[in-house]
Symmetry: C2
DNA sequence: ACCGCCGATACCCGCAAGGTATCGAGCCCC
DNA sequence: GGGGCTCGATACCTTGCGGGTATCGGCGGT
């Protein structure tokens, strides 16, 4: 299987329409049809059911769609890492959610910087749910993730610590007088909806709250009195005036982990991970 | 990057010789030279230093070699899983080291078989160090691994239990009278060398012992009085007469884990893992 | 200095990937 | 129920690229 065939298949599997897929790929429809049926012939397995109004995936097709995406991610990662290894000074790219674990991150960078053969660490502060992709596609070498929100599937990781969560509310809100809250207290607060985070696939759940991708956005919305949020208690250090944190007893505890792609065995990465686990 | 280019590059990177690599690939040398330099041109990065006696890898080349292998593994896995999804009855393939954790394995299979929608589980008893490859290349869905000998890098896993190790010796050997041993006691035993296990890359370390790939082989060698071994104490259940187990105090404790490739989210696999963790 | 080894270059060939035109089968609508 | 529309398949042509042979150029070893 060539990556070209996989790109073609992904296009068809996503569009479920040969014509549109061909357009998206910048080729004509007949060669695309041919390429797919050739792929099916070589695998000896039908991947799509053709109808007169498009196509649907077979079970095998669904499997191949998932696997093909993994392959193309690996290819993209290979290109990026190869080019990075050749050009410029050796650098570790660390990706973390903007506004999360900032204290931990600062300590980590400080501690790593004084290590004997520390190299430059580029920090990317990403939106939520982008870190996995960046690690998989080789745009980043290492990430700070937060379980159970992120997933370490496919990565190596080390736990760095666990913390409780707090609700962030505008100062003066009635609930800020309480010593602690339950999740149920925060559901359906009048005028203070919970913001909606993107799912892994980039879509948003239905609901009333504003769509957000970074913690900073949410903090801004909260201080404007337009939303409330539940966040790890380390967020407290970045609360400016007008925001109050109240412990939420039944919110899931959040574990911060440092994660990196397997196979990547650079000395610098190992040193960074070691530094992180010693904090 | 097409997989063909990656296969070509891997061949050259492993042979460090365009001629031999071309021969191995079944093509002539000039097209191979062209393909590689085309790859370098497209990446904008030199991958090999050509000399008059062969070639050597640049840093970027080493990176690409590692990444390219990962890509081809992913492609192989994609093909296998796609074909498996289409042909035959749904089946989980479980791979375990022959002779290790057999009791645990039996309990797991029994417990899973009575689950509501359990499907067939094919068990492959592999040699040591083959399990990782089989998982990566999609020949198996799930594996029983033993830390610290195996590595879970790149897989999801759940711990199933930890045990101490024992030395397996022929009955009547002087050391069998001792209540416990240290690793040092077992080094350089006259006539009882430790067998040599393959490394991850398939090569064997230097030394006196016989080369082995399965626990069964070793047990046979031990009962013949040709070797001794250190193994998890669960091995005791399979000791036949003539073999004696003695605890080794300073041997690393062995953790048995169940591991599976990320991305693979089948219900059946999830049920098997859940069953395993509940044992 | 010469020979031999090895990768690069030059040049040619064939095939398969891509394009255009057209067919055939469902589906919808009138 | 028939005509038109949509969409994938088929037929056929073109071309670019992957692969082959022949040869060159450079470096080492004897």
């Amino acid at each position: 299987m060539e990556t070209r065939e996989l790109r073609y298949f992904i296009a068809v599997a996503e569009e479920l329409h040969f014509g549109r897929a061909a357009q998206r790929l910048g080729i004509a429809q007949p060669p695309l049809s041919r390429a797919i049926s050739q792929l099916e012939r070589r695998l000896g397995v039908p991947l799509l059911e053709r109808t007169s109004r498009g196509a649907t995936l077979t079970d095998a097709g669904s499997v191949l769609l998932r696997e093909a995406r993994a392959v193309l991610d690996a290819v993209a990662a290979a290109e990026r890492r190869t080019v990075r290894a050749a050009t410029g000074t050796p650098t570790l790219v660390l990706v973390a959610k903007a506004g999360a674990s900032s204290e931990l991150l600062a300590k980590l960078l400080d501690a790593y910087a004084v290590e004997p053969d520390a190299i430059t660490v580029d920090v990317i502060l990403s939106g939520v749910a982008e870190q996995e992709r960046m690690l998989r596609e080789g745009q980043a070498d290492v990430a700070l993730l937060h379980l159970p929100f992120d997933s370490t599937a496919g990565f190596d990781s080390e736990d760095l610590g666990t913390e409780d969560q707090v609700a962030i509310l505008p100062a003066g809100h009635p609930l800020t007088g309480r010593p602690h809250l339950l999740m149920a207290d925060l559901a359906d607060l009048p005028g203070l909806p919970m913001p909606r985070w993107p799912r892994r696939d980039g879509t948003y759940p239905d609901g009333a709250g504003p769509q957000v991708t970074t913690h900073t956005q949410v903090l801004q919305l909260v201080s404007l009195g337009r939303a409330c949020m539940v966040a790890p208690e380390s967020c407290r250090t970045q609360l400016h005036e007008g925001l109050v944190a109240v412990p939420v007893l039944d919110a899931p505890r959040v574990t911060t982990v440092i994660a990196w792609p397997p196979h990547s065995r650079s000395r610098a990465l190992a040193a960074l991970v070691r530094t992180a686990t010693r904090l």
